[in-house]
């Protein structure tokens, strides 16, 4: 059972899609029940992943089988703490988005759930693959279902948005494919072996001029997906026109593909190029943070506002990542999860009112807290989580990122912090305009509050937001070895330091760190913050 755990997690949604294929399309309720059952099953079977050996530095739940031996491609799955958390996020958000579609989707129900479940398998596969070709396959598999979700079940200019999403991501990924091929052939000239094994690539010492080009190729693929500042223009359209579940999946999981790609591939495989491009990426991120926030302030469309807030938040994630310190990288990963939780929830929230009123104009609302009190509370919690209020999840991520960035460059941290302030402004203003005041529109007076199913979609997200906000230690502990692996590889400053420091003493204090350090004391020594958790974790770059 455990041995094939990843395959089971990976193919449960696909199995659901295949089952649905044989259900007559008229039996809409049966289709809904089956889809929900498989989505829930997909989440449940993924739960055992949480209990992996936190101390061990190697890949977990590894599966390897022959696939296309003549070119050295294998069916190679494996995960570490980082991807396990993203997988759990994916299975949870996948279930939530399926659950949230119960009443929203009435047209072509069968196709809808099939497409959603196929998408789920694609996303999971991308997070699990340790074979670069397999990764690329899953990466591209995600495109078409998402295109359909936006193009068929979306609203507004859905066709335009869908094709824009499709072509943008496609251009990025085909260029990335060339980067993969360049690595593949470089690896062959060095080792004489044709392989797409990512773990092998992570040990290569690629010459800088190759690294630079491959990095740019990867950058195009991943940055469009994230999306980073100049490549973000597809995102507001796609988000606005997608159905609720599509937006949730897009925000919570698909955007993480880009950041996952950077952390899993760009940083460890191309360490020198990563350093070289730090200024470029940091400034694009910083521009993204501020620009996204400013544009969000100017929106009159509720969903578009949340979409632009995504641009801002993902800029924060990228900034944390490319500070290249252990703390900031940990923060970046935590913030990816947070963004999935809070932005996913915010899109659900828009979906709730959109289903009732069929408008997303902020000015059409007002005073909703009087007619929908439970909804108002949920929205408030998620707003605060998105802003980064202490005791909620957003705070932990932003604090770690800012702390990690601060030691590298104070200016970056300062600009990023201003983004947080702007974030508070647009979110609280949105909350005030929609929830407070008088109910001056007669349509709003009759709105019903959340029903049980709708509340069920929010409950796990609220629980997670509070849990991560108050006690993030289990999460951080699971990231230690992943972060250490990336940082030792990418950062010659921290690498040897990590190898020497706490690792020799088995009782490393890293695990028992305070869950929420006070923001007034950034001077504590944060450089060794996410130090390796055991002796096996740090490796010398390029060697095994």
């Amino acid at each position: 059972m455990t041995y094939h755990l990843l395959s089971i997690v990976l193919f449960t949604p696909l199995a659901g899609a295949l089952v649905l294929l044989f259900v007559p399309r008229a039996q809409v309720d049966a289709i809904r029940w089956i889809a929900n059952a498989f989505a829930l099953a997909g989440f449940v079977v993924s739960l055992p992943l949480w209990n992996f050996d936190v101390q061990a530095a190697q890949w977990h739940f590894v599966e390897k089988a022959e696939w296309i031996p003549s070119i050295g491609a294998t069916y190679y799955l494996g995960v570490d703490g980082f991807s396990i958390l993203l997988i759990l996020l994916t299975t949870l958000m996948g279930f939530i988005s399926v659950l949230s579609s119960w009443e929203a989707i009435t047209d072509r129900v069968k196709e809808y759930y099939i497409v959603l479940l196929v998408l789920q398998t694609g996303m999971l596969g991308a997070f699990m693959s340790l074979d670069f070709l397999l990764f690329f396959l899953f990466w591209e598999v995600m495109l078409v279902p998402m295109y359909f979700v936006i193009g068929i079940w979306g609203g507004g200019r859905r066709l335009y948005s869908a094709i824009k999403f499709f072509l943008y991501t496609l251009v990025g990924s085909v260029v990335m494919l060339l980067g993969i091929l360049a690595l593949y052939f470089y690896n062959h000239t060095v080792t004489g072996v044709y392989t797409f094994d990512v773990t092998q690539f992570q040990q290569l010492a690629v010459p800088f001029n190759i690294q630079r080009w491959v990095f740019l190729a990867f950058f195009l693929g991943f940055a469009i997906k994230v999306p980073m500042f100049p490549f973000h223009t597809w995102l507001p359209d796609a988000h606005t026109d997608a159905p609720t579940a599509g937006s949730v999946i897009l925000a919570a999981v698909l955007l993480k593909m880009g950041t996952y790609g950077f952390i899993r591939f760009s940083l460890p495989i191309l360490p020198e190029a990563s350093h070289y491009f730090v200024p470029l990426i940091v400034w694009l991120s910083v521009i993204g943070i501020v620009y996204g926030a400013l544009v969000a302030l100017a929106q009159t469309d509720w969903k578009r506002l949340v979409a632009y807030s995504s641009v801002s938040h993902m800029g924060m994630v990228m900034l944390g990542m490319f500070a290249l310190t252990p703390v900031a990288l940990t923060g970046s990963i935590v913030q990816q999860l947070n963004h999935g939780i809070s932005t996913g929830a915010l899109f659900l929230i828009v979906g709730i009112v959109y289903e009732r009123r069929h408008t997303r104009e902020i000015s059409d609302y007002g005073g909703l807290s009087k007619v929908m009190p439970v909804f108002a509370v949920v929205f408030l919690i998620m707003t605060l989580s998105s802003i980064g209020l202490p005791a909620l999840n957003g705070f932990i991520g932003e604090l770690l990122i800012l702390a990690g960035v601060f030691v590298v460059n104070k200016l970056w941290a300062a600009v990023a912090a201003s983004g947080i302030v702007l974030g508070a402004a647009y979110m609280l203003w949105l909350y005030q305009r929609t929830m407070f005041g008088t109910v001056d529109k007669p349509e709003n007076a009759k709105l019903t509050d959340l029903n049980l199913r709708e509340f069920a979609t929010f409950a796990p997200l609220i629980a997670l937001a509070v849990w991560i906000g108050i006690y993030p230690a289990p999460l951080l502990r699971r990231l230690d070895t992943s972060v250490a692996r990336v940082i030792t590889r990418v950062n010659s400053v921290y690498g040897p330091a990590l190898a020497k420091s706490n690792c020799t003493t088995p009782t490393a204090p890293a695990i028992t760190r305070p869950p929420a350090p006070t923001p007034g004391a950034p001077s504590l020594d944060l450089t060794g913050f996410a130090a390796c958790a055991d002796e096996a974790a740090p490796k010398k770059p390029g060697g095994k």
Binding site: E66, W67, I68, P69, S70, I71, E111, L133, F136, L137, E140, V141, L143, V144, Y147, F148, G151, I152, L159, I163, F166, L167, L170, V171, V174, V175, L177, L178, L181, A182, Y184, F185
Partner: protein
């Protein structure tokens, strides 16, 4: 000096060709002898002979050598292509089954000509002598000239036939000039002798001229820009199954012939030996490099604006010729292998796409406009899903076979250092997705015609679609067998110099 003529053993190695010939004769006889109402039987007769040829092919696979005095080779390369042609021919015949009823055309001569064309293709893939190759090409081409104009009452069909004939003959002329120049330079029509003679360094402007003429002649046949002008009109006018067969079979056979001529006959002039251009040594890969880029780009750009499905597929097939040329430009075993993989993959996806066009042809509806597909997802969901798979595959999206094909081509380009070509290739495949996805939009999103009567699928056509979908998906998810086969086949190209007969 060996005695001329065939040995008895030669016939054993020519068995697949002989069976196809026998099938063609049997079909012609059946056409005359069978009562008018029973002509539909001929479909199955044709298929039976193709199946028998495939069985015979299995017996000679794995052998390597030449027969018929070194004019004809029996190697993995030839077997690979013959298999491809037999599959394509069988699917074409299945597609035509109901189509001919609707058009009111006689099946006997039609199937006869399909088998003749198949025979020509098989000869093109196996010939290692310029004369053999030319006879194969001519057999195929003449069959197609007639087939394209087979729908006599249709003006489009007649016009296409004349255009195809005129331009085709012109290109054959060019090719013949090139071949005769080669013969004049070397004194031989055998590719291997040409290769060894020219390896001594005798090249010069005459050889360059010969190569240019050969490139132009083959360029016509594979429909590469700027020799592509015939393709859209012929594709649009020809009976749809024949369009499918031309776009798959004729293209694959021409690529086989191209590979034979350039890789077996002129291997020494790959990178240089033909003079200089812009101060760089000129080899034949240079011509294909240019052809590849302009074919990909212009083919895709022209396809963007097409509203007729067959014309769109014509321009897309021009673009695909461009992708395929990447493998030729790479000029490595991996490049050849990639081209073989792509041709096999292309067979399934392209034939499948045309099968959908055939499906849309009904009594009063020509059905080859994009808007005819509107709402197909409601009217015939299975066909819509199949078409979706073919379009994604043509665009190179995993997990379809088209991705594996494009992937191997781009890999070949990168390995040989043609990074620029690979970049142009991937950007082109991104552009191409726009018009492939447009088809999908018509099927799923536009619903104006959803109220139209449902599209009825015949069993023969359903079989074609099942085979094509299965091929497209299986080769996309688990392409191991295809890669192994293509690798083994590519490695035999140019290796067979041992005669298989008893005489040597």
């Amino acid at each position: 000096m060996m005695p001329l003529g065939f040995t008895r053993l030669d016939f054993y190695y020519l068995l697949p060709e002989l069976i196809v010939t026998a099938g063609a004769v049997a079909l012609l006889g059946g056409d005359v002898l069978l009562a008018r109402g029973r002509h539909r039987l001929l479909t199955w007769v044709g298929l039976a002979f193709l199946g028998a040829a495939a069985v015979a092919l299995a017996f000679i696979s794995g052998r390597e050598g030449t027969v018929a005095q070194g004019m004809y080779s029996v190697d993995g390369f030839a077997v690979f292509f013959k298999l491809l042609f037999l599959v394509a021919a069988a699917l074409t015949i299945l597609m035509s089954h109901r189509y001919l009823d609707v058009e009111g055309a006689r099946p006997g001569e039609y199937y006869f000509l399909v088998l003749c064309a198949t025979l020509g293709m098989m000869v093109m893939a196996a010939g290692v002598d310029l004369v053999t190759l030319f006879i194969g090409l001519e057999t195929m081409a003449v069959s197609f000239y007639i087939l394209v104009g087979y729908i006599k009452p249709s003006r489009r069909s007649n016009e296409a036939s004349i255009k195809y004939f005129l331009l085709g003959t012109f290109s054959l002329g060019l090719l013949l000039y090139g071949m005769s120049l080669l013969y004049g330079l070397t004194g031989s029509t055998e590719l291997r002798t040409i290769a060894t003679t020219l390896a001594g360094g005798r090249g010069g402007p005459l050889l360059a001229l010969a190569v240019m003429l050969l490139v132009a002649g083959m360029g016509f046949k594979i429909a590469a820009v700027p020799f592509h002008a015939w393709a859209p009109d012929v594709y649009e006018g020809a009976p749809t199954p024949i369009t499918a067969f031309i776009s798959v079979g004729s293209k694959a056979a021409s690529f086989a012939m191209l590979l034979r001529i350039f890789f077996e006959g002129l291997p020494a002039f790959r990178m240089d030996g033909l003079g200089t251009i812009f101060g760089q040594p000129l080899g034949w890969t240079y011509f294909f490099y240019v052809l590849s880029i302009v074919s990909m780009t212009l083919g895709n750009l022209a396809a963007l604006t097409q509203n007729n499905l067959k014309r769109m597929l014509a321009y897309s097939s021009i673009a695909h010729a461009g992708y395929l040329l990447i493998g030729i430009v790479a000029a490595t075993p991996r490049g050849v292998m990639a081209a073989l993989v792509y041709l096999m993959v292309y067979t399934f996806m392209q034939l499948g796409a045309f099968a959908i066009v055939v499906l849309m042809r009904r009594q009063d509806v020509i059905g080859d406009e994009l808007k005819d597909l509107s709402g197909l997802s409601v009217r015939q969901p299975a066909a819509a899903v199949a078409m979706l798979i073919f379009m994604l595959s043509l665009g190179g999206i995993p997990p379809t076979a088209g991705f594996m094909g494009k992937f191997s081509l781009f890999a070949a380009a990168i390995e040989s250092g043609y990074v620029g070509l690979a970049i142009i290739g991937v950007l082109n495949s991104a552009i191409s997705l726009y018009y492939y996805v447009r088809v999908v939009v018509y099927m799923w999103v536009r619903r104006e015609e959803a109220a139209a009567p449902p599209v009825v699928m015949s069993r023969a056509l359903a079989l074609v679609l099942i085979v094509a979908v299965a091929g497209t998906l299986v080769l996309g998810v688990y392409p191991r067998a295809l890669f192994d086969l293509a690798q083994a086949s590519a490695s035999t190209l140019g290796r067979a110099d041992q005669a298989l007969g008893l005489l040597r």
